[in-house]
Every structure is written in C-alpha cells, then in structure tokens.
C-alpha cells in the first residue's frame, strides 16, 4: 500500500524546486476547481419530468393550524410534524376520454414521508416503504389510482407530509396523469436513486470481503483493513432497514444513523494511511463523533439523536472530506503518483456534492436531491477496485519475479555445471601434470639415464651403431610420451613446436633441411577436447612421415605446412602437410605402398593413427618429374573424438 519508490524526484536547487512545486500546486488546484464547477453544473441540471400538462401545482396548505395557498416544490420549516403533519389539498381534471387508461400519482421527491389521498381514499403511504423513509435517499414514489376512485372531470388530491427530521420537510412537484406517461420518469429516478445505490452497495459488500481477507493475510498493511471496515459499515447502512415505529431492534437501528461519521472517519484514516501516515494514539478522536452518536442512539431518544446528527455527523463528514482533500493533494503533489491524484479528484467531487447537499438542506437550492452518498459509494467502489487491481498487478510482478528467478536459477545451475565440469577438467589436468612429473622423475633416474648410457657406449664401439640408434629412438619416444602428457590447453601448435625441435635434431645428421611453414598466422585451431593420446597419435604419425622420408626416400628437404582451412560446411579444420623431395613410390590400388613391405607397414600405421583421431590422411607420391616426392596430408577433424574410435 505504501508507494515507496513510485517516483523519485530528481534533486533540484531550492528555488527551482519551490517554483516547480508552486506551479504544480496551482495546476492541481485549477484542475480541482474545474472539477468542482463541472460537478455543480451537473448537479444543477434537473432530471427530466413527465409532460407538464399533468403537473399539479396549486395547493391549499394547512400547516400548524394555518391555511394558505402554495405552489410546489415546498420547503416546510418544520423539523418534526408527526402528530399534525402539513396537509396539501389540490385538484386535478381527469378527462372522460382517459377513462380507459390507468392514472397514477407520481411524487419524485419528498422528506420524510407522504400519505396521498385521492377523493378521500388513501392510495399511498410511503412510510410502509423503509427505503423511502430515509431522508438521505432520493426515493421517488408512484401509486396507481384505483379506477373506482377516479371520477371523470374534477378530482380531489390531498397529501399529508410527515416530517421526523433531522432535516426540514420538503415536497417536490407532483404529477397526476396516465401511468404510462409518468412511469418512465419514475423508472429513471428509481434506477438512479434506488437501484444504482443497491448495486454500489453490493459491490461494496464484495470489496469489503476481498479487502478484509487481504488485510487478514497482510496485517502489515492496515489500510486494507480500514477500508474493508469502511465498506462494511457502508454496506450495513445501506441494507439494514429502518422501519418506523418501535420494534425491539429499533434502538439498534438508531445506531445505524451513526454510520455516516464512523464511515467518514474510517475513510479518512484510510486516506491518511495511503499517504504514508502512521497510526497515532490521538487519532482516536476522529471516531469520537460517530461513537457519541451511536451512544446517543442507544441511550437517548430519537429527537436527541436527530439533533446530534446535524451537529456531529454532517460536520464530521465535511471535515473528513476537507482533511482528505488536503492530504491527497499533498500526497499527489509530493509523490506525483496517479493513485493519490485520482483520489484527490474523487474527494473534490464528493466535497462538491456535500456542499450542494448542505445548501439544499438549508433550502438554498431549488431542489432537494442528495448526491453525496451516491458519489461516496461510487468512490469507494472505485478505490476498492483500484486496490484490487494493484494487488493483482503486484501478484503479476511476483509471477514475473518468480519466472525471472527460475530462469536465473537455471542459468546459475548451468553455470555451476559448467564450472563444475571446468573444475573437474582442471583437476584432471592437475592430476595428469602431477603424474607426469612423477613419471618424469622416475624415467629420469632410471630408464632415461640407462638409455643415454647405451647411446654413449655404442658410440665408443664401432660395431654397435644400430644399438645406439635404437637407444636414441627410445629416448626420442620417451620424450614424446612425456611431452604429449603436458597440458597444452588444446593448442596442438604447442606440441608441434617441440616436435619441430626433435625432428630438426633427427634430420641434422642426415643433412636434410626442415622447411617449416605456418601458412595461416594462428597456425591450427584450438581444440579444447584435445587429449594426450590424440597428440601422441598425431606426433607419431608425423614422425613416421619424416622417418620414411629420411630412411627410404633419400630426401634433401622436408617441408611441413601448417594451415587452417575453412571447409565446405563452414567449419574450420587444421591441416598439416609433410612433403619431401625424395624418390617417391608407387601407391598400390589398396592405398598401401607397392614397394617395400616396411614402407607399406609404415603407411598402414599412419592410416590407423589418423583414423583413431578422426583425421583424414591423404597420401600422394610421385616417382618422377619436377614435383617428385611424397606428400602426406593430414586433415584434422573439427572435433576430436572422445574415445579411441578405431582401436583394435
């Protein structure tokens, strides 16, 4: 209910802020004035009446023992005339040709009760209709004159006006004519002044329940509870009838008269709470008029209650409205929120209605239609609906928030999963590195040293060159295995860098040049899925190609080309080509070499290594011509396989 953060005012220097505020205030007040003027204009419009020809205007009034001629509408100065009510006597003509149509008497407005007599037969006593008895309602009355009572030509009509306060008596103009001519006007008035308030009150009842439940569930927002209480009081006031006469419950019925000040106090508290005010102990004084009136109704007599009503309830309503107008205006100006602004406009409309009603009580208006109650009900319904709407919107926001939360949780979960996978990967790499370090130390101390000794010893005796070569090859392979276990972060170039050094060391004694060409600047694409066993297969394959060139091809120059190719499918693939300028050989139809069995086995090995890594191997060899030599072209997969695909 608190509109925190609805609008944050940008900080302005003092003078500019003051000017802005005063201009806002002026605009707000102008708007409220326009609303008030429009309200008065609308209220001054009289409701459409039946055809003027059926209006009965001239009456003889007998009041307080005196008799005089009056024209309606008539304000009686009396406040209480139950025993000797003013009597209006008049005449109307029913033409003979109208005998076929039913005639009625229509009284649009009277306070407090009427008894209509036509030709000395009572046809209407409004006191039997509880709704019509309430001075705050503009209940119209219509009565069909029984055909047997009516005469052709002149008929006498007499109206007794019962007045029981708290305001003075009033009798509006009356019409006597064909029922079908009067009925539409009556229906319109019934719709506006009877049905509509009932509809409003029903809404109010529903909202009272909704807001009550809301308050029960959200105790920290007392505004809901206060508004629910206001609505409940309003509903009680509307639906609990007050029949005349002394019933066992009449005392309690009298309490209902206190509903107006209590209700206005509740609405005032609601408006204060809505504008961010905190409940204070002294605020109970707001309810004193209502409680006093209720106590008077319980223990005093009706005359006292009615007297008190005028001096307690009416000003209380007015004061509440005035305070609300100020509070909502302040709230609307300071916080610039739509809810306060609308409430402010509603208060202005109600205040206007209340003032017009007051003027009409004091007979300063030509008519006596009370609209404050109607506008109040409409406003309460609007407020309740607005609050429910806000609540629904808040629920939507919560739904959205929950949705966002779900998405965020899912995202976080995925991130966590990814980070877990990364962590696992890192732990794996660390374990591998530790294992490699351990292995290296072991090899260093044992096998490595022994192999080096074999190399050194073989060089001293001439006959054991083959042993030395084998030991050197074993050392080379050892270095390859250890090297490929290093975490190179998927960058095959880092493995090829070491391989180049080893290959150069291998080629140097044979006087074979190694031409190293990285065609694309980056070299090869990075493969995060690259595993040590992939690296070993590739490096051994390349070794095989170089060894073939050294041993069998009598090459003078070996060229290694490294490039990244964009495939037809748009994916990047690394490509390594080893080319020599040696003798070349015939490639047999089955893809193996047609020549020596050893070469054939070497080629088969290369093919199986390529297949294990999901790489493509292309062999071409040419024995004669300018471009003689062998070319091994290895196209790496876009993604290295997880498992050893061609194992076995």
């Amino acid at each position: 209910m608190n509109d925190h953060g609805d609008d944050v005012q940008p900080e302005l220097p003092g003078r500019a802020r003051r000017r802005l505020r005063s201009s806002r205030l002026i605009r707000y007040l102008l708007l409220q004035a326009v609303i008030a003027v429009a309200g008065v204009t609308v209220l001054l419009q009289s409701l459409p009446g039946p055809p003027a020809q059926y209006q009965v205007t001239a009456f003889q009034l007998t009041e307080a023992g005196a008799e005089r001629a009056v024209t309606l509408p008539y304000f009686s100065p009396l406040r209480n005339a139950m025993n000797d009510p003013p009597r209006f006597r008049g005449h109307f003509i029913r033409p003979a040709d109208e005998a076929s149509r039913a005639w009625s008497v229509f009284l649009p407005r009277f306070t407090n009760g009427v008894e209509v007599t036509v030709n000395d037969v009572v046809i209407l006593d409004s006191r039997r209709d509880p709704a019509a008895n309430r001075p705050d309602r503009n209940t119209p009355a219509i009565a069909v004159i029984p055909a047997s009572v009516l005469r052709d030509g002149d008929n006498a009509i007499s109206i007794r006006l019962f007045i029981w306060g708290p305001i003075t008596g009033f009798l509006d103009r009356i019409w006597v004519g064909p029922d079908e001519e009067l009925r539409p006007t009556y229906n319109l008035r019934t719709l506006v002044f009877v049905t509509l308030p009932v509809v409003f009150s029903s809404w109010q009842a529903i909202l009272a329940v909704i807001l009550g439940i809301m308050w029960v569930m959200r105790r920290h927002e007392p505004a809901y509870g206060v508004l629910a209480a206001a609505m409940a009081v309003g509903v009680g006031q509307a639906f609990l009838q007050t029949p005349m006469g002394e019933t066992p419950f009449s005392r309690f019925n009298v309490i209902l008269i206190s509903s107006a000040p209590i209700e206005s106090a509740l609405v005032l508290v609601f408006a204060l709470l809505l504008s961010g005010w905190k409940w204070q102990r002294y605020a109970w004084i707001i309810f004193i008029p209502g409680i006093a009136l209720a106590l008077a109704g319980l223990f005093g007599n009706q005359a006292l209650v009615r007297a008190l009503f005028l001096i307690l309830a009416v000003p209380m309503v007015g004061i509440s409205l005035l305070i609300m107008a100020v509070v909502t205006a302040r709230s609307a100006l300071q916080r610039q929120n739509v809810a306060s602004f609308l409430l402010g406009c509603a208060v202005t409309i109600m205040l206007t209605c209340w003032i017009v009603d007051l003027l009409s009580v004091f007979q300063m208006m030509p008519n006596r239609i009370f609209t404050a109650r109607l506008s109040y009900s409409a406003m309460l319904v609007a407020i309740g609906a607005g609050l429910t709407w806000r609540f629904a919107r808040a629920l939507n926001q919560i739904d959205g928030f929950a949705g966002r939360l779900v998405t965020q949780v899912r995202e976080a979960e995925e991130k966590l999963k990814a980070s877990f996978a990364r962590e696992e990967e890192r732990a794996r790499a660390a374990a591998l590195a530790r294992e490699r370090t351990r292995l290296m130390r072991d090899l260093h101390d044992g096998l490595g040293g022994q192999l080096v000794s074999i190399v050194a010893l073989s060089e001293r005796g001439n006959g054991s060159a083959g042993i030395g070569e084998a030991a050197r090859a074993a050392l080379k392979d050892l270095r390859l295995v250890i090297d490929s276990m290093d975490d190179i972060g998927g960058d095959l170039m880092l493995a090829l860098g070491s391989w180049r050094e080893r290959a150069m060391a291998q080629l140097r004694p044979h006087d074979i040049a190694l031409d190293w060409r990285a065609v694309t600047a980056q070299g090869l694409p990075v493969h995060p899925e690259l595993r040590p066993w992939h690296v070993i297969q590739i490096v051994r394959l390349l070794d095989e190609a170089v060894t073939n060139a050294v041993k069998h091809a009598e090459a003078r120059r070996i060229t290694v080309r490294i490039e990244t190719l964009a495939g037809a499918d748009g994916l990047e693939r690394g490509c390594i080509t080893v080319e020599d300028d040696g003798r070349g050989f015939e490639i047999a139809p089955d893809g193996g070499a047609a020549g020596a069995a050893k070469t054939a086995r070497g080629l088969r090995n290369m093919r199986s290594r390529a297949a294990r890594c999901g790489a493509e191997l292309e062999l071409s060899s040419c024995a004669q011509g300018t471009n003689k030599g062998t070319r091994v072209r290895l196209t790496l997969p876009h993604r290295f396989p997880d498992s050893d695909g061609a194992a076995g």
Binding site: A433, T437, R441, A456, R479, G497, E501
Partner: protein, 225 residues
C-alpha cells in the same frame, strides 16, 4: 649445422663439464674437445668445486643429479662467484621440472645428453657467442605459467611477473615452433633483437638473492607473513 670447422678457434675457451655417468661424460668431453674447447671434467660436486677453484671458466655444463649433491647448488655458487660464466644444464629428457629450477638460479637452457656431437659443439659455441638457446617445451612451460590459474600449478616455482607482453609473445612463438625470423616478422621486430629478448627473459626468471627470493615467494603467495 656442419659449420663447426668454420667457427672461431676456441683454445682460450674453458668448459667445466660436470657429469656423474662416465660414458656420457666421455662422449660429451670428446665432442667438446674435438671442437677445440679446453674441457675440465668432474664427476661429483666436490670435483666440480675443485675445478672452479682453478679459475673462472667461460662455460659450465652440469648435470643436476650428482652423487654428492645437486647441480642447482653448483649453478647458484658459480653464478655468484663468476657472473660472466655461461651456465647450461645437461639433461636427459629436457624436462622443465629440472631445467626451470636451474634457470631460476642462473642457467641458460639445456643440452640433451644424447645430442649429436656436432650439436653439442654448436650449442656451446652459440652460448659463448652470447646467444641464449631456449627450447619449445621450456618456452611452453614459461608461457603456461604466465596464464593465471586459480591455484599454483605443479612443478617448480617460477615468477613470470617481470616479463613484458612482448617477451611473452616471443615465448609463445618459440613454444609453437616458429623460428626467430618468423617471430620477428609476426611481431614487427628486427630478427637480431630476438636473442636479446630471450637473454632478458632468462635474466628476469632468475632469482638473484635470498631477499628477492623471499619477496617473490611472498608476492606469489607461497609464504604468508
């Protein structure tokens, strides 16, 4: 690399060779002697110290695992006593585990024990000429250390904080197998400046004093004060 006979005469160049495996010692000694270097051989740390006591050699080649101690200590001592001596490690596998720890005390690169005699001579000649050889796997180890990781990676401690981005780029190029000329052209450098950068990289990886070692250990979070 058959340029041995074209190289400068090396009578004045003394090499202290420390290797405990006799056959390996002989073959290295042969290779160097044939290339004209004056070799003082030692099989243990004590013998090596005796050799060094005779005067500053131009080059010290040492194995790390010695019967009576560790080659790293020898390198540190030599570095302190004879700052002009070029030091190189003799390694079986060229593994970073041992080579890096030697580099941090002042060694420049390594020599493989089974290297061909011509390569052995050529490497020493390059070293004497002021070049600092660096292998792809060592370069790879160093650049992998320049990449930040949540926890210190296994292996020897190495502080790469002083390396400049350019030096790291050069190391990347070496790790990926590019020649100095290719690296120079990629980075827009003159080819001649690359060896200088590599020398500078070696010097920056060296931990000079105990104080500095402690300071760097603190910086890297290895020691908590």
């Amino acid at each position: 690399m058959n340029s041995l006979s074209d190289g400068p005469k090396a009578e004045a160049i003394t090499v202290v060779l420390v290797e405990d495996d006799a056959p390996t010692l002989w073959r290295l000694q042969d290779a160097l002697a044939k290339a004209g270097y004056q070799v003082r051989a030692a099989g243990t740390l004590a013998e090596a110290r005796a050799c060094l006591a005779q005067g500053a050699p131009k080059v010290l080649l040492t194995d790390l695992q010695l019967p009576d101690g560790h080659g790293v200590d020898l390198i540190r001592e030599t570095r302190r006593r004879f700052p002009d001596t070029e030091i190189m490690v003799i390694s079986i596998l060229g593994d970073e585990e041992s080579v890096i720890s030697a580099i941090t005390v002042g060694a420049t690169g390594y020599l493989l024990k089974d290297a061909f005699p011509t390569d052995i001579a050529a490497t020493v000649r390059d070293l004497v000429a002021g070049h600092s050889p660096i292998s792809a796997s060592i370069a790879r180890f160093i650049v992998r250390r320049t990449q930040s990781t949540p926890e210190p990676p296994p292996g020897p401690v190495l502080n790469t904080a002083k390396l400049t981005p350019r030096e790291i780029d050069i190391l990347w190029g070496i790790a990926k197998g590019f020649s100095y000329a290719e690296i120079a052209s990629h980075l827009g450098l003159s080819r001649q400046t690359v060896p200088g950068h590599i020398k500078s990289i070696y010097r920056k990886l060296e931990v000079h004093t105990r104080g500095e070692a402690v300071f760097e250990a603190v910086q890297q979070g290895l020691i908590k004060l």
